[in-house]
C-alpha cells in the first residue's frame, strides 16, 4: 500500500487522541484508508471537513505536522491462488519473507450473502475425533467455536481438526496469539506437508491490539475468493475471538461510546455476527466453515463475549480435563452442534443418532453415580457398570487423541454397550440392535 504519484499530502493535523487524529480534508470517503507518517489509519468519522482517522498502531509520536495521505479505498486484500502457503500480517502484507501477492484487489468486509441464495448445509466434515464426529458432528458451512479456558490445548485441537478435515483450503486468522503459538501453527503446517493448502493472517501479542480488528475480515475475504471463485471448501480458523472483542472494546472506549454489559460495545452482537455469518454453503458447491476459539474466564459463559457468541454460532465445543483417565475430552454434555441432525443417520449409518444418545445418557448415569459416592450413598450394580462404561467411553471415544472413522466410532460404542449393559438398558430401538448390535460379540 504505497503512496502513488499526484496524491495530495496533508500536513496539518488538528487534534490527536490516544488512538485517533483529526484533520481538515475534503473528498474523503467513509472507512477510507490513509497513511499518517507511514502508519496505516482508517477514516472513522467525518464532520463537515473534519475527518477523524483511527491509527491502527496508535498515535505515539505523531506530530501535528504529520504527513497524511488518503489512499482512496477501504482496507483491501489482493486475492489469487498465490495466497496459498503464505503468511501475512493484519494488513495482508507478507511476513514470511516472500514477495507481495499479485492478484485482484478486493475490499475486505464485503457484502453479505442473500439468504435466499444460501443452500442448506449438508456435507459432513470428518475430523477423526469421536467427541466431535460422533457426538457433535460438524457440517460444511457451519460456524462453531471452542469455548475453552486459557490453560486448555484449544489451539492444538483446532489445528488437528483443521489438518484432518478434508478442506481444500485452511485459513488461519490469528488474533493476539503469542509468538510461540504462531510458531507452533507454522511448524505444524509445514511439517504436515499441508502448507500449500494453508493461508495465515496473524496478529501476535507483539503487534498493536487494534490491528487485529482487520484479521478476521482478511481471512474471510481470502476464504470468499476460494469458495466463490474456485468453488472450494474452505475452513477458517479464528483464534482467539475473545481478544478480538477486547480490541473492539478498546476502540469503542476511545471513541467515547457508552459501554454495555461487561464493558463491551453495544454493537458486539452485530460485530461478531457479521464475521460468523460469513460461514455459508454456496449454491455452486463452495463453502466457508468457521471454527473459532473463544477463551473463557473461569468457565463463565454468561460473560458478554461467549454469551453473544452462543447466540450467533451453531453450537459450541467444550474441552474438559477428565480426571478419571487423565486426558482432555470433548465434554458431551455442554457441547452441541446445532447442524448435526442435517447429517447424522443420513450421511452416516442409520444407527448413529440412537447410539450417540444412548452413550451420552449412560455417561450421564455414571456422572450421577459419582455424585452418589460423593454424597455417601451406596452404589447399585447398574451404577458400577455405568462407571466402568464411562471410563472406557472416555478413553476410547471422548478423548481428543482419538483418530478413527465414524463407523468405527459407532461400532466401538456398540462394543462397550455389549460389554456392560443389556440391550434394554441402552434403550435403543429393537430393529437397530438386531441389525448392528449383534455383529459385535
Amino acid at each position: 500500500m504505497e503512496t502513488t504519484a499526484f496524491q495530495k499530502i496533508h500536513t496539518k493535523v488538528d487534534q490527536i487522541t490516544k488512538a485517533t487524529c483529526s484533520l481538515y480534508a475534503t473528498g474523503v470517503g467513509n472507512e477510507e484508508m490513509a497513511l499518517v507518517n507511514d502508519r496505516l489509519a482508517q477514516v472513522v468519522k467525518i464532520e463537515g471537513d473534519l475527518v477523524t482517522l483511527q491509527i491502527f498502531s496508535g498515535t505515539e509520536g505523531i506530530p501535528t505536522n504529520a504527513e497524511v495521505v488518503f489512499l482512496g479505498h477501504a482496507p483491501q486484500l489482493a486475492v489469487s491462488d498465490e495466497l496459498a502457503g503464505r503468511f501475512f500480517n493484519a494488513y495482508g502484507q507478507p511476513i514470511d519473507g516472500g514477495p507481495e501477492v499479485d492478484g485482484k484487489l478486493v475490499e475486505i468486509g464485503g457484502p453479505s450473502v442473500n439468504p435466499v441464495r444460501r443452500k442448506q448445509p449438508s456435507e459432513l466434515i470428518a475430523t477423526g475425533i469421536a467427541g466431535i464426529d460422533l457426538n457433535n458432528t460438524l457440517v460444511t458451512g457451519q460456524k462453531i467455536p471452542f469455548f475453552a479456558d486459557p490453560d486448555q490445548p484449544y489451539n492444538q485441537v483446532m489445528a488437528m481438526v483443521a489438518l484432518r478435515a478434508k478442506a481444500d483450503k485452511i485459513i488461519l486468522g490469528g488474533m493476539g496469539i503469542t509468538n510461540d503459538d504462531y510458531l507452533f501453527f507454522k511448524n505444524l503446517f509445514e511439517n504436515a506437508g499441508a502448507i500449500d493448502r494453508i493461508i495465515s493472517f496473524v496478529n501476535t501479542t507483539e503487534n498493536p491490539p487494534v490491528e487485529r480488528l482487520l484479521v478476521p475480515d482478511m481471512a474471510l475475504s481470502a476464504a470468499e475468493y476460494f469458495a466463490v471463485e474456485k468453488n472450494q471448501n474452505v475452513l477458517v480458523l479464528l483464534t482467539d475471538m475473545t481478544l478480538y472483542a477486547d480490541a473492539l472494546s478498546i476502540v469503542s472506549n476511545r471513541m467515547d461510546q457508552i459501554p454495555s454489559k461487561d464493558s463491551m460495545p453495544g454493537s458486539l452482537y452485530s460485530d461478531l455476527a457479521k464475521l460468523y455469518e460469513k460461514a455459508v454453503q454456496f449454491p455452486d458447491g463452495g463453502s466457508i466453515t468457521i471454527i473459532a476459539v473463544t477463551t473463557l474466564s473461569g468457565g463463565d459463559i454468561t460473560h458478554a463475549i461467549p454469551d453473544n457468541t452462543g447466540y450467533i454460532t451453531e453450537g459450541q465445543l467444550f474441552l474438559r480435563k477428565e480426571t478419571d483417565i487423565g486426558k482432555v475430552i470433548i465434554d458431551p454434555f455442554r457441547s452441541l452442534s446445532r447442524l448435526k441432525q442435517l447429517v447424522i443417520g443420513k450421511k452416516t449409518r442409520e444407527d448413529h443418532p440412537q447410539v450417540m444418545n444412548a452413550a451420552i445418557r449412560l455417561y450421564a448415569d455414571a456422572a450421577n453415580a459419582k455424585t452418589k459416592i460423593e454424597n455417601g450413598f451406596d452404589l447399585t450394580d447398574y451404577d458400577k457398570r455405568a462407571m466402568s462404561f464411562a471410563k472406557d467411553y472416555a478413553t476410547e471415544l471422548l478423548a481428543i487423541d482419538i483418530n478413527i472413522e465414524i463407523d468405527t466410532m459407532i461400532d466401538t460404542a456398540w462394543k462397550l454397550f455389549d460389554k456392560y449393559f443389556s440391550h434394554a438398558e441402552t434403550g435403543i430401538k429393537a430393529e437397530l440392535v438386531e441389525k448392528y448390535g449383534k455383529q459385535i460379540k
Binding site: 475490499e107 453479505s112 449454491p283 454468561t302
Partner: protein, 590 residues
C-alpha cells in the same frame, strides 16, 4: 418541490444532511452515492441539519453527496402477492435480487406488477364505503384476498365506478370513489401504508378470548394463547427458542403466518426456505409456504433495517387482519431489534438507560405489542393478529431491560429453562414459571368450557398444582435422601413426572407426537389426572420409580400412536393392567 440536501457528516451509518427545505421526522430519503441510491430514514432534526440512519453500509460515502427526500415515512406496499414471499426488512423481494451477495441499493419491488389477478367485485356502484371497506377480492393461493378502500382515505365515500369481474394487474384502477365534496379518487389493488403507524380501520378491539390451537401441549393446555393474544419466549441460547417458533409456524391454527427473522442466524431462515415449500399444511392440504411470508433481516444484514423489519411484518399482519383473517406473527428475536435501537441511540449520543438501552425502550416495546389484537371490522367480520416474540436475554438473565420491558407488555410468558434443556426435556418451557393471563379472563373460561370441556380450566389448574407439589417433594427428597422421606413423597414426585413426561414433553421430530389436536390433549390430560387421583400402595420407595417409569413408557407409546387407533387402544389396555397392579382405591369417575 421535494426537499434535497447534501451530506455533511458521517459516523458509521448515522449521516448528517444539510437540507434546503422542510423535512419530517421518520421521513425516508435516498443518498445518491455514485450510481446507487442508499435508502435512509430521518431520526432527528436540528436547525438546518437532518440526522438520518442509513439502511446500508456507508463505506466510501463522502461529504457533499446529494440527498433526495421523498416526503413520506417508511411505507409497506400492500396488495395481492405478499403470501409466500421472502422479503428483506424493508419489504424488498429477496428472490428478485441479482447474484449471490446482497448489493447496496438493490431495491426490488415487493409484488408482481405484471401478473394478472382474477378480480371479483364485492361492492356495487352507489355503495357507501370508508377506509378498509371491501371493494372486491382476488384469490391469492387459497386466501380470498380482499381489495380494500385504502386505509389513508379519510371520511365517507361513494362507489362511483367499479370494474366488472375479470383479470387485472395490481396497478390497474379497479374502482373510482367519490368523496363528500364530489372529488373522484382512483383505487387500484395496491396501497401504501407507513409501517410505524398502526392500521386502525376496525370498529373495536375487544379483549381476546378465542383459544388459538398450536398443537403444542404445554402451550395449549398450560399456557394457552388466544386469537389476537400476545406472548413472548425468553431463553438462553441452546434452550430451543427457534425450534419452538418453527413448531408454532408449522402447526398453529392460523390463516397466515408471518415470520420476522430479526437479527438471527441465516441458516435458520434457510431451514424455513428449504422445508416449508415441502411440508404439507394439514388445514388446507397445500404446502406450508403458501400460507407463510418471511421477513428476513438476518444478523449480518444492515442493523438499521432490522428495526424496520418488525414494523414491516406487523403492517402486513394488520393488512391481512383487515380482510377478516387470523394472522400469527412470530418475531425471532426482539432483543436484536432492541439492540439496533441501542446502537443508534448511542451514535446520537442520547443519555442511556439501563444497560445502555434507550430510555424509551419499554414504551417502544409495549406500543409494538399493542398493535396485535382481535378486532371487529366495520362490516361485522372479525380478524386477529396474534404476536409471539422471542427474547434473547444477555447471559440468560431475565432481569435485563428487554425481558423486563416485554414482560410488562405481553400477556403470555413462556420461560425456557436451561435445566430442562440440559436434561433434554423438550420443549423446555417451564410450566410452573410460565403463565398465560388469558386463563384468568372470564371470556376465555367461558369460551373453552363450551369449545373444549366445562372442566378444562379447572383441570389445567389441578395439573399445575400437581407440578408444584411434585417439585416441592423432589426438593425434600434431595435434601433428606431417598429413605429420609415418607414413601408418599416419592409417589407425589413421580405423579408429577407423569405429567412432565406425557403432557409437557413432546417430540418435535416425531410425525405424530409433534402436533396434538386439542381433543386428544384433553383426553390425555384427563387420563393423566385420573392417574394422579388414584391412590397406590407401595411398600418401599424403590418400587415407586420403576412402577411409574412403566406407566410413563406406556403413555408415551400412546403419544406416539395414531389417536384412537388399534395400537393406541392396545397401549391403553396395557396401562389399565399396570394401574390395577397397585391401585388401591379408585376415585370416583366423573
Amino acid at each position: 418541490m421535494a426537499t434535497t440536501g447534501t451530506v455533511v457528516g458521517i459516523i458509521s451509518n448515522l449521516v448528517v444532511v444539510k437540507v434546503n427545505g422542510p423535512v419530517s421526522q421518520n421521513e425516508i430519503c435516498y443518498i445518491n452515492h455514485h450510481a446507487v441510491k442508499l435508502m435512509a430514514e430521518v431520526i432527528r432534526i436540528g436547525s438546518e441539519n437532518a440526522y438520518i440512519q442509513v439502511f446500508e453500509s456507508t463505506r466510501g460515502l463522502k461529504t457533499g453527496t446529494p440527498v433526495e427526500f421523498t416526503g413520506h415515512m417508511l411505507e409497506a406496499i400492500l396488495g395481492p402477492g405478499i403470501l409466500s414471499k421472502n422479503f428483506d426488512g424493508l419489504q424488498h423481494d429477496l428472490d428478485k435480487m441479482e447474484g449471490v451477495f446482497l448489493q447496496k441499493g438493490d431495491y426490488t419491488h415487493p409484488l408482481e406488477v405484471d401478473k394478472d389477478w382474477r378480480f371479483k367485485p364485492l361492492a356495487k356502484v352507489g355503495d357507501e364505503v370508508e377506509a378498509g371497506s371491501w371493494l372486491g377480492e382476488v384469490t391469492e393461493n387459497w386466501i380470498a384476498h380482499k381489495i380494500m378502500v385504502p386505509f389513508t382515505f379519510e371520511g365517507e365515500f361513494k362507489v362511483k365506478k367499479i370494474v366488472a369481474a375479470g383479470d387485472y394487474k395490481i396497478e390497474d384502477t379497479i374502482a373510482v370513489l367519490e368523496d363528500e365534496e364530489s372529488n373522484e379518487h382512483k383505487v387500484s389493488m395496491i396501497q401504501k401504508w407507513p409501517v410505524k403507524v398502526p392500521i386502525k380501520t376496525y370498529k373495536n378491539k375487544p379483549r381476546p378470548a378465542k383459544f388459538l390451537e398450536t398443537g403444542i401441549r404445554v402451550i395449549d393446555s398450560f399456557t394457552p394463547i388466544v386469537e389476537g393474544g400476545t406472548g413472548f419466549i425468553p431463553g438462553p441460547f441452546g434452550t430451543g427458542k427457534t425450534v419452538l417458533q418453527h413448531a408454532l409456524s408449522k402447526q398453529a391454527d392460523a390463516d397466515m403466518i408471518i415470520v420476522a427473522a430479526c437479527g438471527e442466524r441465516a441458516n435458520e431462515v434457510v431451514e424455513i426456505f428449504a422445508e416449508f415449500p415441502e411440508l404439507d399444511d394439514p388445514r388446507t392440504g397445500r404446502k406450508l409456504m403458501e400460507r407463510t411470508t418471511i421477513i428476513a433481516n438476518t444478523s449480518n444484514m444492515p442493523v438499521a433495517a432490522r428495526e424496520a423489519s418488525v414494523y414491516t411484518a406487523m403492517t402486513i399482519a394488520e393488512y391481512y387482519r383487515s380482510m377478516g383473517l387470523k394472522i400469527l406473527l412470530l418475531a425471532d428475536s426482539t432483543s436484536r431489534w432492541a439492540q439496533a435501537l441501542r446502537e443508534m441511540s448511542n451514535r446520537m449520543e442520547e443519555l442511556p438507560g439501563p444497560d445502555a438501552f434507550p430510555m424509551d425502550l419499554p414504551a417502544i416495546i409495549s406500543n409494538f405489542y399493542s398493535r396485535a389484537g382481535f378486532v371487529h371490522l366495520n362490516n361485522g367480520e372479525t380478524g386477529s393478529v396474534t404476536f409471539i416474540g422471542t427474547v434473547s436475554p444477555a447471559g440468560g438473565n431475565l432481569k435485563e431491560p428487554v425481558t423486563e420491558a416485554t414482560k410488562k407488555a405481553a400477556r403470555c410468558f413462556y420461560a425456557l429453562s436451561q435445566n430442562r434443556a440440559d436434561s433434554k426435556r423438550y420443549p423446555a418451557i417451564d410450566a410452573v414459571e410460565s403463565y398465560s393471563k388469558y386463563l384468568e379472563y372470564p371470556e376465555y373460561i367461558d369460551y373453552v368450557s363450551k369449545a373444549i370441556s366445562p372442566k378444562w380450566v379447572d383441570n389445567i389448574l389441578d395439573a399445575r398444582n400437581i407440578l408444584v407439589r411434585g417439585r416441592e417433594a423432589y426438593e425434600q427428597i434431595n435434601i433428606l435422601g431417598d429413605d429420609g422421606v415418607p414413601v408418599e413423597y416419592h409417589e407425589i414426585f413421580w405423579k408429577s413426572e407423569v405429567i412432565d413426561f406425557v403432557i409437557l414433553q413432546q417430540d418435535a421430530f416425531d410425525k405424530i407426537d409433534a402436533s396434538t389436536p386439542i381433543n386428544r390433549q384433553q383426553y390425555m390430560l384427563e387420563k393423566v389426572l385420573n392417574i394422579n387421583k388414584t391412590l397406590f400402595s407401595f411398600e418401599h420407595f424403590e418400587e415407586v420409580n420403576p412402577y411409574f417409569k412403566k406407566i410413563i413408557n406406556v403413555l408415551k407409546q400412546m403419544n406416539y400412536s395414531e389417536f384412537e387407533s388399534e395400537q393406541f387402544k392396545k397401549f391403553e389396555k396395557e396401562l389399565e393392567e399396570i394401574l390395577n397392579e397397585k391401585a388401591v382405591v379408585e376415585t370416583e369417575q366423573p
